[in-house]
Every structure is written in C-alpha cells, then in structure tokens.
C-alpha cells in the first residue's frame, strides 16, 4: 500500500533532520497516486495533498519514526479529521414521527438500507414505518413489502398510479394514527441531472419536512461522486450519507470526495446484503482503507 511506496520513495533520499520541500514533493506524488487509485476525486485530491504538503514540510524526523511514517501519520490524521466529526446518529424529532428520506442514484442500495435502518431503529425500541414511494421501478413496492415482511415492520403503499408526493405526505398522518414514531421513505433511484425527478424530491421534502435526508452512495463510485453529492446537496440539503457495499474491495475514495464537497457526515455503512448489515461509520477505518 501507500506505506511501502513511501518507504521506497524515502530510501532514495538522504536522511535529514527534517523533511525538506523536495522530500515532501516526492512523497506527495505517491500520496496523490494512491488517492486517485482509491477513486478520490481529482480536485479533492489536489486540495488534500496541498494541506498535507504544508503540514509535512519542515516536520522533524523523530528518532522513533521514519520519514515515510511521518508522512503516513500526517496523511492518516488529515484523512480521519476530514471524514470525521462522525455522527452515526440520526436526528430524532422531539415531536414524533421522525421522518427520514432515502435518496440517491439508481441501484445505490436505498431500498435495502431503508430496511436496515428500520431494523436498527426497531432494535432501539422505535416503531418504524417503511414508505414505498418508488412508483417507477418494476416490483419496487413489492421489494420493500418483502423486506418489511422479513422484519415485521409495516410498509405503507398506495394503489398503482398514485404519485410519490401523495404517498409520502399521506404516510405521515398514517404513521401517527398507527403509533409509528419513525417514517422511512424509500424513493426511486434517479439521476441528479433529471430536473423533473429532483423536483419530485423537493416536493416530498416540502410536504413531509424530514429530519433526515440521507444520500445513499455506492462505495465503488468513482470520480462522479462529487457531481452527485453536490447536486443532491444543492437541491435538497443533505443531513447524512450512507456508504453501501463496503463489504467488497472497493477502496471507497468516494467517501472522502462526498464529505469534502458537502461537509455532510457519513453516518452509516452498508456491509452486506443482509438486513442486519448496517454499521456506524468510522473515519479512521475508512482512512486506512482508502490508503490501501
């Protein structure tokens, strides 16, 4: 990983008492490559490397650490700090129900994550209601109903032909009437550049005033993560991000990109297809994963 490459880089340079600008420039090339290979966005990498560079120049090489270790330590600290301020907690409304909206691109894992959140909240003693507001994808409502059935969580759905905004807004009083204190709205996957569908989300937001709008992002997303996150955040204002499919070997650089451009906390990670596979986000673990 990066550690080995930095060791190799510094082997070529003479030992100094401090890291010179030349030492650091060489090392930053390696850091930049490692981050790009990990799918961190090009522009985010540029800014990040600049910060690390400033911190690294003139650093004392302590007897206990090699120059490579000094740089790795700085990179790790900066990455962790950038992705941190971890709030793996949802904003719970003081007046129930708490309304959560799942949004994101097609196939990111919204429906599955909606189920996972429902299960997690149920284990905390809450009474969730899943809302089937994806009226487009074939068998999307059925998918959520099957998940609800597996978890013994009620699913609110309306007859085909009903628009998503109506489904979402009628779900809230339904929740109150049926003693549900958390409403989790599963929305259809959509492109951030589809104005009509982004407007649908804005309308849902206006009607249900959610405490949480969660952007669901696939951990294998590449450079495009920045465009998606910026757009969704700009249109809706995001409260949190869920990074899915982290049980694979994707380095997950999208996590850094999304955090860097939106400032939005990554609250949870999806670690598998099973409905129990939801974990809190740990910035330090993510940092070492990104660095490989």
């Amino acid at each position: 990983g990066l550690a080995d490459r930095l060791q190799a880089t510094f082997k070529k340079l003479r030992g100094h008492g401090r890291l010179t600008e030349d030492d650091v420039n060489e090392a930053m090339r390696e850091v930049r490559m490692a981050l790009l290979e990990a799918d961190v966005n090009f522009k985010v990498v540029k800014d990040f490397v600049k910060r690390v560079q400033e911190r690294a120049i003139g650093q004392d090489i302590l007897a206990t650490l090699t120059p490579a270790q000094v740089v790795i330590k700085i990179v790790n600290e900066e990455l962790t700090a950038l992705m941190g301020g971890s709030q793996s907690r949802l904003n719970i409304s003081s007046v129930p129900p708490t309304v959560i909206m799942m949004v994101g691109l097609q196939g990111a894992g919204k429906t599955t994550t909606a189920g996972k959140l429902g299960l997690a909240l149920k284990k905390q003693g809450k009474h969730p209601l899943l809302v089937a507001a994806d009226i487009y994808r074939p068998a999307a409502v059925k998918q959520l109903q099957v998940i609800g059935g597996q978890l013994d969580i009620p699913v609110y759905a309306m007859k085909p032909g009903t628009d998503a905004v109506t489904i979402a807004k009628t779900a809230v009083p339904y929740a109150t009437a049926h003693a549900a204190d958390v409403v989790i709205i599963d929305t259809a996957g959509r492109l951030h550049i589809n104005e009509e569908l982004m407007q649908e989300l804005k309308s849902i937001k206006a009607e249900v005033k959610p405490q949480e709008i969660l952007l669901v992002v696939d951990a294998m997303t590449g450079q495009d993560a920045v465009n998606v996150a910026e757009s969704f955040n700009g249109d809706l204002g995001l409260d949190g991000v869920v990074l899915t499919k982290l049980d694979g070997d994707a380095r997950g650089g999208a996590a850094l990109s999304v955090k860097a451009v939106t400032g939005c906390p990554i609250k949870f990670v999806g670690m598998g297809e099973k409905l129990e596979a939801l974990e809190p986000f740990y910035p330090d673990r993510m940092a070492s994963r990104i660095l490989g």
């Binding site: 196939g107 894992g109 998918q143 492109l191 997303t221 450079q223 465009n227």
Partner: protein, 278 residues
C-alpha cells in the same frame, strides 16, 4: 519533449485531468499521455488542436481491436448469461435486450436465476410480460443452477432463439458466490457445450477503479464475452472500460442510457471516445 508544437505543460495537464475525471484511471491515463508525448515527438501532433483528436483516435483504436460481434448459436437456443455486482442494471438490461431481440422477431426466454434478492423474480417477470418473453422461475431461495438448468431444457424444447439467464448481484470478492456462478456456468455448459454463447458482465458507468477488480475476478468464474456499460445517461463517463479492454481484452458490446425498455444501444467506440472529452 515540451516546446515542440506549441504544446505546453498546462495543456497536457488539462488532458490528463480530463482522463482521470472520466475514471480512466492512473495507469491507463499514463499510457495514453505517453502515447501523446510520442505523437508530439513523431510530429503526428503539430498543434494544440491536434491533441484531442489524437487522443480520441488512440482511445477509439484501443476499444475496437478484435472481433466484438455478438455470438449467436448455429442451431438451438443462444444462451446469454448476465452477471455483475449488485445494483448495476443486470435485470433491466435483460429486459432491454429481450425487447431488442423480440423486435427482430426472435423467440426470447428469461431465466429468473436470482433466487435470493427480495422481489427479484417479480421484477424479471414484469420485464418478461412487457417484452413477450416467457419467464422460467422457481421458488424464492431455490438453487439458481437448477433454474438455469430448467430454463435451458425448456428453451431447447420450445424452440427458443435466445435465453437470458439473470443472476443475483454479487461482489466479486465473495468466493462462495463466485463458486455459485461457476456452478451455474457449468450446468449450462453441460446441457449445451458451446453455451453460454455470451456471458455479459454488466458494469455501472459510475464505478471507479473497482471495475477492474470486477472484470478480473468475474472472468475467473466465467469467461466473459462482453461488457454492458450502464447508466451512461448520467454524468459519469465510464472510462474504466478502456483499461479493461486493454488489459483483459473485454469488449463493450452494449451501453445502457436510461431506465426505459428501449434505452439500450450497441457500443460505438468513436462516440464513446468523443464523449470522454465533452
């Protein structure tokens, strides 16, 4: 090298940035930039205006080498196995391909071999209804290889032209799921030795460098004849396919450009190369 042809470092940096931002990846980008520097040296590039066309041509050439035609059976059903990680668009792509071949008057059958995910079978059945293709299915939770087997027998018996086998999304690092895929492949092959005639790896255009690992590990479970690159209607460019073609000789055969039944196009390398720079 710089100083030739009025091309400065900034211009080359800009090109490199465009490639990286298109998910071409560090390694393939370096290869391409090396080709550009060679092109400048060899006077194939003589002005800044020559840069983009040169790169487009280079990328186009990388993407069209070899025979990338869709392989059909000489007789009996053509079997197309559709594989890939979770959520990339396998089931939807099968729906689109079903419509495409139905449009040619072909008899199409679909095998619902994703027996795991909630409502996966229902989803494929809807595509079957929409496109006039019979769907072979078993119970949820049943053995996917058994579904594939039944479907191949049914396809043979009923004079089906094209059989699509839909599989569950699976991350390439899950060895038990890769073994399951090998079994599905074997079962199909045992019934029809040349089958699957096409094994399509579906890749999502928003995917970054992990697509290389996907192509690599999936091809170890089942030899891949082509890639379907989906969701190109978004802002992602899908540049990873250049490296995949260069390193693994996997051609892109189709692109997905939307969620509707006719949002599928044959892959055209020239269009793809051009779109990288837009």
């Amino acid at each position: 090298v710089l100083g030739y042809a009025d091309i400065d470092d900034d211009l080359l940096d800009e090109l490199e940035e465009t490639l990286i931002m298109a998910d071409v990846g560090v390694k393939t980008t370096e290869k391409l930039m090396q080709a550009v520097r060679q092109g400048i040296k060899q006077k194939k590039i003589n002005s800044p205006d020559d840069l983009k066309p040169f790169l487009e041509q280079t990328i186009r050439d990388m993407l069209v080498s070899g025979t990338d035609e869709v392989r059909l059976a000489a007789q009996g059903p053509t079997v197309m196995l559709v594989i890939g990680v979770n959520g990339v668009g396998k089931t939807t792509t099968i729906g689109k391909l079903s419509a495409y071949y139905r449009g040619q008057g072909k008899k199409v059958m679909l095998a619902a071999a994703d027996t795991f995910r909630a409502a996966a079978i229902d989803q494929l059945e809807i595509w079957g209804q929409r496109t006039g293709a019979e769907v072979i299915r078993h119970e949820e939770g049943s053995d996917p290889a058994a579904v594939a087997y039944d479907a191949v027998l049914a396809a043979k018996a009923r004079g089906v032209d094209i059989l699509f086998v839909d599989t569950a999304g699976r991350l390439q690092t899950k060895s038990n799921l890769m073994e399951e895929l090998k079994k599905i492949n074997r079962v199909i092959q045992r019934e029809i030795p040349e089958a699957p005639h096409e094994t399509l790896l579906v890749l999502d255009a928003t995917t970054g460098q992990n697509a290389i690992s996907q192509a690599d590990l999936f091809s170890q479970a089942a030899p891949i004849s082509g890639v379907v690159l989906t969701k190109l209607d978004g802002t992602a460019k899908g540049g990873v396919v250049i490296g995949i073609k260069a390193e693994l000789s996997m051609p892109v055969k189709w692109i997905g450009v939307g969620e509707a039944v006719d949002d599928l196009r044959p892959f055209v390398a020239a269009d793809f190369a051009k779109a990288l720079f837009e």
